[in-house]
C-alpha cells in the first residue's frame, strides 16, 4: 500500500541515496567499464578510504569534507601502486586472473582491517549530521545533499577528463586496442595504473561524502559493491553519465520499492531492473553496442 504523502519525500531521498551509490560506481565504471578489470576489491578499498576519513577525524579532528583534500589523493596513490605492483603483475594480462587477484586482495584487506581496527562499528559525529534542508515538505539531510552535488561534479570531472585530456584519450585508446596504443607510444603499464588509481581515488571522494551519514566497519564495502556493479551494467559500461543515471534509478527504485513491497523485499526491484536491462538492452542505458 502506498502512502502518497510520503511518496515525494521518498523519491527525493532515493535520489540522494542513489547519488551515494553512483559515487561508488563512478570509479568502478572506469576500472571495470573501460579497462575491463573486474575489481572485486572495490568494496574493500571503499572501506579503507572510509577508515582513512574516520581516523583523520578521530586523530586530527579533520572534518570529513576537509578530508576531501587528502583522502582521494591517498587513495589514488594506493590504487596506482596496487595496480603497478600486484594486480598488473599477478594477472599476466588475463581477465580471470585479475578477478582472482582482486578477490584475494579484498579478503586480505578486509581481514587486515578486522585485525587492526576490530569489528566495532565506527561513526563520525559531525555538528551538521542532523541538519536538514526542507524541499517540497521533505527533509533532506544536508550531508546527503552535499553528496548529491558531489556525485554530479565528480561525474562531470571524469567525463571531461576522459573526453578532453591526453590522459583520457590514452585511456580510451588503451581500452579499445592495447597493442595499437603501445605502438603509438602510450606507456601501457603507466596508463593502466593511472586509470586504476583514478578509479580508486574516486572512492576516496565517495568515502568523504558517505561517512557523515553512514558508519564504517571492516565489511562495510559488501553492501555497496554489488549495487555498484549493477549500476555500471545498468548505466552502460564505461559511461560516467550512465553511472550517475543508474545510481539515481537504483536509489529511487529501492526507495519506492521499499514503500510498495515492504522494506525487506523492496531491494528486489534493483535486481529485477538489472535482469530486464541484461535481457533487453545488454549494452546498458547509455552504453554503445560492442
Amino acid at each position: 500500500m502506498i502512502n502518497f504523502s510520503i511518496l515525494l519525500p521518498s523519491i527525493l531521498n532515493g535520489l540522494t541515496t542513489g547519488a551515494l551509490y553512483a559515487l561508488v560506481a563512478l570509479g568502478l565504471t572506469l576500472i571495470y567499464g573501460v579497462l575491463h578489470i573486474i575489481n572485486f576489491a572495490h568494496g574493500a578499498l571503499l572501506m579503507v578510504a572510509m577508515y582513512l576519513v574516520y581516523f583523520l577525524y578521530k586523530l586530527f579532528g579533520l572534518d570529513p569534507y576537509l578530508a576531501l583534500l587528502v583522502v582521494p589523493a591517498a587513495m589514488f596513490v594506493i590504487g596506482y601502486v596496487l595496480q603497478r605492483t600486484i594486480i598488473g603483475n599477478a594477472s599476466h594480462g588475463r581477465d580471470e586472473n585479475i578477478l582472482l587477484v582482486t578477490l584475494g586482495l579484498s579478503i586480505v584487506i578486509e581481514n587486515l582491517a578486522l585485525f587492526f581496527f576490530a569489528s566495532d562499528t565506527q561513526v563520525v559525529d559531525t555538528p551538521y549530521a542532523f541538519d536538514v534542508v526542507e524541499l517540497f515538505g521533505a527533509f533532506l539531510p544536508v550531508p546527503k545533499v552535499i553528496a548529491f552535488v558531489g556525485a554530479l561534479l565528480t561525474a562531470l570531472a571524469l567525463w571531461l577528463l576522459m573526453g578532453w585530456t591526453d590522459l583520457g584519450r590514452a585511456i580510451r585508446a588503451l581500452a579499445r586496442e592495447r597493442k595499437g596504443a603501445r605502438l603509438v607510444g602510450i606507456n601501457v603499464d603507466h596508463i593502466f595504473a593511472m586509470s586504476f588509481g583514478i578509479g580508486i581515488g574516486v572512492l576516496g571522494i565517495a568515502a568523504c561524502l558517505l561517512l557523515p551519514t553512514y558508519y564504517v566497519y571492516p565489511q562495510v564495502g559488501h553492501g555497496f559493491v554489488l549495487i555498484a556493479f549493477t549500476i555500471v551494467v545498468l548505466g552502460g559500461m564505461g559511461s560516467f553519465i550512465g553511472a550517475l543515471l543508474g545510481g539515481f534509478i537504483i536509489g529511487v527504485v529501492e526507495a519506492v520499492g521499499g514503500l510498495v513491497l515492504g522494506e525487506s523485499l523492496g531491494q528486489i526491484g534493483i535486481f529485477v531492473i538489472f535482469i530486464l536491462v541484461l535481457l533487453f538492452r545488454p549494452q546498458g542505458l547509455l552504453g554503445h553496442r560492442a
Binding site: 581481514n111 536538514v132 571492516p218 521499499g258 522494506e263
Partner: protein, 427 residues
C-alpha cells in the same frame, strides 16, 4: 600432558577464508588448528601422557567474529575468554586436579551452516563443551550439531525459544528467551504507560528480518493488543539496510505514540539518527532486545539522541559487586560491558561449574549436572537457577532507560537504580 601450542604447523585448508580477526588476545583459529593438530600428532607418536589430571579442559567457543554481526560476535568471545581467564586464575577445575580451561575458537561468520561446521570441528578436536552462538539462527544449528555427540552446549545469547523447545538434552540456556522477554516487555510497558495516565495508545514495530527480529516482533504484535495498545504497522527490514529514511517517513506519516525497534546495532544506529533527521517525535522509543538504553557505545556517541530511550533487554545486576567487578575488568580491556560480554561470560562459568560438580569429562555427567544446577554466581538480576528442559526459568530481562547520559535500570523495582521518565519530555 601439559598442552603447549606447537608453532610452525600450517593451518589446514579452512572453509573460511577469513582466518584473522579483530581481537586483542586469545587464540585465533590458526593457532587452534595448529594446537589441536599438534596434539593429535603427538598422540599418534605415542607421547607419554604425563600429569594426565592437569590436561586442559577444552571449551569450544563459536561466535560470528566476522560478517554482519561481527561486533557482537567479538564481544561474546571476549566475555567467554574473560570467564576462562578468571576460572583458570582461581585454580581451574578443582575436582579434576585443577585442570585449566582451554578455549577453542571458531568463527561462524554470521552463518548457521558454518557455525555447525565449526562446532563439528571442535567436537572432533575434543571439546568437552560448546558455548555458542550469539544469533538465534546460528545457535539453532550449533546446538543441533553438538547434540549428535551429546556434547554439552550452553547458549550464550540466542533468544529464539525454538532453541530450547526441540528436546535436545545437551542444550542449556541461562538467559531468558524472547517469549518471556516479549511478555515482560509488554507487561512493563503497560505498567509504565498506566503510571503516566496512559499517554501511549498506538505502536509501530520496526524489526530486522532474521529469527530474532521476526520472532520478537510477532510476539509483541500478538501481546500488545491484549494490553490495549493498537499496533498500527510492523515494518521488516533487511541486514544491512543502507538507508532508513523510508522507514522514518512511514513512521512520521503514521504518527505512532510509541516506536518499538528490534534490531542489531548497525541498523539501530542508522534508524535512531534518521528519526532525528526527519524530526520524528513520539511519546517514547521502547526497544526490545537491543537499543540505545543497552548500549554504552551509543549513549557515549549520541548522548542527545539516546536520552529517554527505554529498552527491555538482558542486563547485569547493577547492585551486584561481582557484576561491577566484571564490568570494570571488561572496561580495563577496552571493551564496552555489553550484554554479549556478560551473557557469554556466564555461559562459560555455568558450564565450568557443571564440569566441576560432575568431576569428570563425561558428557552425560556434565549434562546432568547442568540440568540439576542451582548456580547463583551469575551476577544477573535473576531468580534462582532452575533448568526446565534446558531453559533457566530464573532468567529474566529488565527495563533500562537512558537518563542524563547514563543507563539506569528502571524495572523491576528490586534492581532499579532510577524511576522511569515517560512520556519523553518535550523540547
Amino acid at each position: 600432558m601439559v598442552v603447549t601450542k606447537p608453532k610452525g604447523r600450517k593451518g589446514e585448508e579452512m572453509t573460511d577464508k577469513k582466518h584473522m580477526r579483530g581481537m586483542k588476545q586469545g587464540l585465533d583459529r590458526r593457532t587452534f588448528l595448529a594446537a589441536t593438530g599438534g596434539v593429535a600428532a603427538m598422540s599418534a607418536f605415542g607421547m607419554p601422557h604425563i600429569a594426565r589430571a592437569a590436561d586442559p579442559v577444552k571449551v569450544g567457543l563459536v561466535h560470528p567474529v566476522t560478517g554482519f554481526i561481527a561486533y557482537s560476535g567479538n564481544q561474546c568471545r571476549q566475555g567467554a575468554l574473560m570467564a576462562i581467564e578468571d576460572i583458570n586464575n582461581a585454580g581451574g577445575i578443582k575436582s579434576i586436579g585443577g585442570a585449566p580451561l582451554e578455549a577453542l575458537l571458531g568463527d561462524s561468520q554470521g552463518k548457521p551452516d558454518i557455525g555447525a561446521a565449526e562446532t563439528a570441528k571442535m567436537v572432533e578436536a575434543g571439546a568437552t563443551g560448546i558455548v555458542a552462538g550469539y544469533a538465534s539462527s546460528i545457535t539453532l544449528a550449533t546446538t543441533q550439531e553438538a547434540a549428535k555427540t551429546n556434547t554439552p552446549h550452553v547458549v550464550d545469547v540466542g533468544v529464539s525459544d525454538k532453541i530450547v523447545s526441540r528436546g535436545l538434552k545437551n542444550t542449556f540456556r541461562l538467559g531468558p528467551g524472547y517469549g518471556k522477554i516479549a511478555n515482560y516487555a509488554v507487561d512493563n510497558l503497560d505498567a509504565i504507560n498506566r503510571a503516566a495516565d496512559s499517554p501511549a495508545k498506538t505502536v509501530m514495530i520496526i524489526h530486522e528480518e532474521s529469527a530474532f527480529g521476526t520472532g520478537t516482533a510477532g510476539l509483541l504484535e500478538k501481546r500488545l493488543p491484549d494490553r490495549g495498545f493498537e499496533v498500527i504497522e510492523v515494518i521488516k527490514h533487511a541486514n544491512p539496510t543502507r538507508d532508513f529514511t523510508n522507514i522514518a517517513l512511514q513512521i512520521k506519516a503514521a504518527k505512532p505514540d510509541l516506536i518499538i525497534p528490534a534490531q542489531y546495532y548497525n541498523e539501530y544506529v542508522l534508524l535512531a539518527r534518521t528519526l532525528r533527521q526527519q524530526r520524528v517525535e513520539a511519546a517514547g522509543i521502547y526497544s526490545v532486545l537491543g537499543g540505545a538504553a543497552s548500549s554504552f557505545k551509543f549513549v557515549e556517541e549520541f548522548p542527545e539522541a539516546a536520552n529517554y530511550i527505554m529498552d527491555c533487554n538482558h542486563w547485569y545486576n547493577p547492585l551486584s559487586k561481582e557484576a561491577l567487578r566484571r564490568k570494570k575488568a571488561a572496561e580495563d580491556k577496552g571493551l564496552y560491558y555489553t550484554y554479549e560480554v556478560y551473557l557469554a561470560y556466564n555461559a562459560v562459568a555455568f558450564l565450568a561449574d557443571a564440569i566441576e560438580r560432575a568431576g569428570s569429562l563425561d558428557k552425560q555427567a556434565i549434562n546432568d549436572a547442568m540440568a540439576s544446577s542451582d548456580w547463583d554466581a551469575h551476577a544477573m538480576p535473576y531468580g534462582p537457577t532452575a533448568m526446565i528442559d534446558g531453559q533457566n526459568e530464573g532468567g529474566q530481562p529488565v527495563n533500562t532507560q537512558v537518563l542524563d547520559g547514563k543507563i539506569e535500570v528502571i524495572l523491576p523495582d528490586e534492581f532499579a537504580t532510577a524511576k522511569p521518565v515517560f512520556p519523553t519530555p518535550k523540547g
